[in-house]
Amino acid sequence: MIPLQYELLLSAMLLCIGLYGVLARRNGIIVLMSIEIILNASILNFVAFSSYSGDASGQVFALLGIAVAAAEAAVGLAVFLGIYQTHGTIELDKIRFLKW
């Protein structure tokens, strides 16, 4: 059996990778993918603790999280598609309409 620490370590690495993607990359699609990676890191956490503690509810949350991630990806891609169609770009530092 793989020790819990390893799984948590992996999850933290995924989180960091995802954060890097979200904060540093310009392309909206890449950011969206990085968010998925963060989500996956959290799902991995759920699974790891579930198996560690022998409680099945963690697995249930993991499944729920995958479903949400899928829906989110769909919505996110649709938003970016719309932005691209109206503004002609999905570079995040060009998109400023949240500004005051």
Binding site: L19, V22, L23, L92, D93, I95, R96, L98, K99, W100
Partner: protein, 702 residues
């Protein structure tokens, strides 16, 4: 038959009723109500005479008469009935005689006025005022207590003010009236203080009560100082009313009124009230019991002022050319004789009392005798002068002369008056003046200061004869120097003159049937003695001296003004003589000094205080008001700028901060994300840090 009490009251009520009647209806009455005034006065005179006869019948001569008090109503009620102040009348020898004298002279003067004032405007006013004046004097001499005396006294003051200012268009008359009122007012205030002191010492103001209470209150409540102070304060009132030095200045100016008014003021009323008051003040000067030490200081002051004023006023009479002013100065001088007599008499009597002997009231009687005689001859002289003025329309003796031809009656009666005033035997002035001087000489054996006063009196007798005959010669002898056509006055004026002329003889000689005036009017003890008969040789000598100097004065006047053997200019030729003449003409500059005092000190004080009131007090008030406005403005600014400023500043700063913070809202999602991440990191760091701290802390506790 009306009750006796009512008879006495009616003496006062008749002229008072005349005053009211003339005051209300005077302009509808003939002669402006003059007949009403004369009628009322005649009524008063008849009743006074009746009262006087009653007094005589009940033993007035010789002192068997007990003074009667006619009780009136309460003026000031008090819970204790004996402390209430009442109006009551006192009838004793003195007041009964004074009532007759006053009402008789007022009657003659009123009758004379019918002629004298015939062509004047404002007759109702004149007759109303003189009626009230007569009421005042009758009330003064019949008052039972000092307060009532003061009230009637002041009513006279008011009337003298109104009558002196009768010719209201003359500025001099207005000024003279003002002066008369104010100068006498100073004396009145002293009198008022005297009344206050008496009330607080004796708890009564009635003459009789005071005399009775005196011995029991001395020297506890009534300290010797108070006993000296009270008569001096009363005398202060007398000095004002009787125009003695230093309050004499009003009387010569009072000649601005009609001559009848002058006669009224000088002969029967007003100025005589001062002498009367001093005579009433004898209850303080001469106590009943020898246990009370008499106030010799006060007596000396009275005598000294009398003695000084008599010469002082006579000197000023010598240089005056106004016929009425000469007579006015002579009045001051003659009144001063009376005060001298009262003072000297009181000194002798007080000495008698302190030695426990029976009192000798010769001085008291002599002074009041002189008052009695003076009333007749001074009324005569003034009315005669009025007759002259009526004829020549001027007061200035330099524009008269030689008037004995056109004015035969007037000149003769004036001669009678002049002889009486000068004190030539057998005219009335001789008896009383000689008596006063001999009493003064007698007092000299007790206090040698009286010898000096006697010398002053004798000097005055010389001057009196001189200025009196100067007046008579300048008026009636020589050539007429004026430009009128003088003619004799109508009988309504000359008949009173002739009656008065008769009295210049009779009033002196009356002393014989009365067995001496001292038998009728006296203090404590009557003294029956015929004038000039059976008296010590020394007295005859003294009376001879006073008459001798009078004859000398007469002779000098004759030499200077009738025959012109000695020209008048000789007296003013030398520098010293000129200076004295100027000084006398200027009345020793006393009037000027008073005027200057009034103008500078009194009015200056008034101006200064007015300035103070407007500038300082009102300045403070306005300053406070202005300070209030300043504070209000300041508060307003504070409110606008600080309080409201704070409110505005908060909102403004909020906006400004938000503007600045808005800059941070870049719209870049990633920058927001950075913040979120940083926040999470901080939160985590805090959690770790805090839990660490907590553990460290609890570790310490263990």
């Amino acid at each position: 038959m009306i009750a006796y009490e009512w008879v006495v009251w009616l003496i006062l009520l008749f002229p008072l009723a005349a005053f009211v009647l003339i005051g209300v209806l005077g302009r509808y009455l003939p002669e402006g109500g003059g007949h009403v005034a004369v009628g009322a006065m005649a009524g008063s005179f008849v009743l006074s005479l009746y009262v006087f006869i009653q007094v005589l019948q009940q033993g007035g001569l010789g002192g068997a008469f007990t003074p009667q008090t006619i009780e009136g109503f309460v003026w000031i009620p008090s819970l204790l009935p004996e402390n209430s102040i009442k109006i009551s009348l006192l009838i004793d020898n003195l007041s009964a005689l004074m009532l007759v004298l006053v009402s008789f002279l007022c009657l003659l003067i009123f009758i004379y006025s019918l002629g004298y004032m015939h062509e004047e405007e404002g007759k109702p006013r004149y007759y109303a005022e003189v009626s009230l004046f007569a009421t005042g004097m009758l009330g003064t001499v019949s008052a039972d207590n000092f307060l009532q005396l003061l009230i009637f006294w002041e009513i006279m003051g008011l009337c003298s003010y109104l009558l002196i200012g009768f010719w209201d268009r003359k500025p001099e008359a207005a000024a003279a009236a003002k002066k008369a009122f104010l100068v006498t007012r100073i004396g009145d205030v002293l009198f008022l203080v005297g009344v206050l002191v008496i009330w607080n010492v004796f708890a009564t103001l009635s003459f009789g009560e005071i005399q009775r209470k005196m011995a029991s209150l001395y020297p506890g409540t009534l300290t010797p100082q108070l006993l000296t102070l009270i008569p001096l304060l009363l005398f202060g009132g007398a000095v004002g009313k009787s125009a003695q030095f230093p309050l004499h200045a009003w009387l010569p100016d009072a000649m601005e009124g009609p001559t009848t008014v002058s006669a009224l003021i000088h002969a029967a009323t007003m100025v005589k009230a001062g002498v009367y008051l001093t005579a009433r003040a004898f209850i303080f000067l001469v106590p009943l019991s020898s246990a009370v030490e008499p106030p010799f200081t006060a007596i000396l002051v009275i005598a000294a002022i009398g003695g000084f004023t008599t010469l002082f006023a006579a000197t000023m009479a010598v240089v005056n050319f106004d016929i009425k002013r000469v007579l006015a100065f002579s009045t001051i001088s003659q009144l001063a004789y009376m005060f001298l007599g009262l003072g000297a008499g009181a000194y002798i009597m007080a000495t008698d009392v302190s030695r426990g002997e029976a009192v000798d009231s010769a001085g008291y009687s002599a002074a009041l005798y002189h008052l009695f005689n003076h009333a007749f001859f001074k009324a005569l002289l003034f009315l005669g002068a009025g007759s002259v003025i009526h004829a020549v329309n001027t007061n200035d003796m330099r524009e008269m002369g030689g008037l004995s031809k056109p004015l035969p009656v007037t000149s003769k009666v004036m001669l009678f008056g002049a002889l009486a005033l000068a004190g030539i035997v057998p005219f009335s002035g001789f008896f009383s003046k000689g008596e006063i001087l001999s009493v003064t000489f007698d007092a000299g054996s007790l206090n040698s200061g009286f010898y000096l006063l006697w010398a002053l009196g004798v000097g005055t007798a010389f001057l009196t004869a001189f200025y009196t005959f100067r007046l008579w010669f300048m008026t009636f002898r020589g050539e007429y120097r004026g430009h009128q056509h003088p003619h004799e006055s109508p009988p309504v004026m000359t008949v009173p003159l002739m009656i008065l002329a008769g009295f210049t003889l009779v009033s002196g000689l009356l002393a014989y049937p009365m067995q001496g005036f001292g038998n009728l009017v006296f203090f404590q003890r009557p003294e029956a003695a015929f004038p000039l008969l059976g008296v010590p040789f020394q007295h005859l000598l003294l009376e001879g001296v006073s008459m001798g100097v009078a004859v000398l004065g007469l002779a000098l006047a004759w030499a200077v003004y009738a025959t012109k053997r000695v020209p008048a200019e000789r007296f003013t030729a030398s520098r010293g003589g000129a200076f004295i003449h100027r000084m006398l003409t200027k009345r020793y500059w006393i009037d000027d000094a008073y005027d200057a005092f009034g103008r500078t000190v009194v009015y200056g004080t008034a101006r200064a205080l007015d300035w103070f009131d407007r500038r300082v007090i009102d300045g403070i008030v306005n300053g406070v008001g202005r300070a209030g406005v300043v504070v209000a403005t300041g508060t307003d600014r504070f409110d606008r700028q600080v309080v409201d400023g704070a409110v505005n500043a908060i909102s403004l700063e909020t906006v400004r901060t938000s503007l600045r913070l808005r800059q941070r809202q870049t719209g870049q999602v990633q920058s927001y994300a950075w913040v979120v991440v940083l926040g999470i990191v901080v939160v985590i760091a805090l959690m770790f840090g805090l839990s660490f701290l907590q553990r460290w802390w609890s570790g310490l506790g263990r």
